[in-house]
Symmetry: C2
Subunit: 231 residues, 2 copies
DNA sequence: CGACTAATTGAGTCGCTTCAATAAGCGTGG
DNA sequence: CCACGCTTATTGAAGCGACTCAATTAGTCG
């Protein structure tokens, strides 16, 4: 039995169908840094993340990279009507994904109306997150970006726990400094300086490279620049 | 007979249904600057743009604004499962929109499977555009942003003509300089300087405030920083 | 413990912004 | 139809936030 089934998009598939399609899927292990889907390539699979965290990224012709999404357990990767993928999907940590061939995926969309609705709902949420990403990148200062990032990741890490819970105050960062920079449209040095400044201000602790603890969530929220009523 | 029906999402509705639902819709005229949907308010309508151009925007607590999408004729505004809207939708030009109550819209989703698929397809395209927006805002320089913007708008204006056609070389900008700045994450002065530089370089002409002519599309493409094989 | 990689910190530069002044469109009314 | 006045855009000069380049420190893993 799959660890994320209760929360993943699979809940929209009838039990009978699920067993039937279960045959076509396989569970795959990804090592940190491994790329599941390449930007520009024809998509021939769809996947549900069982464990670990992945990034979705786009690059420019000279290699600059922007992370356009972070994918957590129970989240979904891929799209129907298998076109060229506009993004790469790469494991930020070792990960387990449940992979289906594109054909099975497209078929599901026609045979299970609930599946389409669930997928639409998921896509609309991802669209909202991406739009907030545009706001962050277009209009927020470096401190605001870091504050927003910490709040977002603490919430999503909490949600994607085996037992979903509220935003975590202490957690391991699945991204290194370069990846945080690629997500926030900054450089590695600016990320580092801002984190140090927040530590100095008593907003966070940094017990290790990848470990982070939020000490003053309220002040992070104010620092983020967002309308407070949104959270 | 509606001017954009042949291209809009309505094509996914059976003729019988279309007439039935047609009763519930109304055509509305928006003046330039008028807001159809407010950020944070509960959504009670869905709309198809018949004529004119709208912006989708999000703001920060101190009023800074980011445009996260531009909506052209035959495009769609709204979402099912009517939640709070995360964006405002405001007319950039005088516009005509075909408006449906949220209830009729949600019903369509259950009664017409093709409608759901079409909506999903539309949402996936919007997601791709928004992700490219993140790339632009996070990693492109001011000249690259302007070049990308000019190419994008010329293509979308062409597509949304009554008779859809290739990218236009000469067109009216539906956005003023401030709105271009809010879309590209720049200031009005930077937008103006970059446009002047491009005019000086012979890439474009600017016969009037709002009129723009592309003289060297190929060079704009190279300036945009994107992978050339993408367009 | 030692070596390698990742992160931090510092100094200087640059691109975009800010603030301020000028110019150009464009609609209006004489 | 042109002149006027208002709005929008352009241009200039100075400032600053984030970047670049370089050196140092701190984790982490064998």
């Amino acid at each position: 039995m799959c660890a994320v089934r209760a929360r993943a998009i699979c809940t929209a598939i009838s039990p009978t169908m699920r067993d039937q399609y279960g045959q076509e899927g396989r569970t795959d292990t990804l090592r940190k840094g491994q790329t599941l889907v390449w930007e520009g390539e024809y998509l021939h699979l769809a996947a549900i993340v069982v464990a670990g965290v992945l990034k979705l990224s786009i690059s420019l012709s000279d290699g600059r990279e922007q992370i356009v999404g972070v994918v957590y357990p129970a989240d979904f990767i891929g799209r129907p009507f298998g076109d060229r993928s506009q993004v790469s999907a790469t494991a930020l940590t070792d990960a387990q994904v449940c992979i289906f061939p594109q054909t099975a995926f497209d078929r599901l969309l026609f045979e299970q109306p609930d599946f389409g609705r669930r997928l639409l709902e998921h896509t609309l949420e991802e669209l909202n997150r991406t739009r907030r990403g545009m706001l962050l990148l277009g209009r927020k200062s470096a401190p605001e970006r870091i504050a927003s990032f910490l709040l977002e990741i603490s919430r999503r890490l909490g949600e994607s726990q085996p037992q979903p819970q509220a935003a975590l105050d202490s957690f391991e960062l699945p991204l290194d400094r370069q990846q945080i920079a690629d997500l926030l449209g900054l450089t590695i040095e600016t990320v580092s300086r801002q984190l140090s400044a927040m530590r100095a201000a008593g907003l966070i602790r940094l017990p290790g490279r990848r470990t982070l603890e939020i000490l003053d969530r309220r002040q992070l929220l104010e620092l983020s620049g967002d309308h407070l009523e949104n959270l």
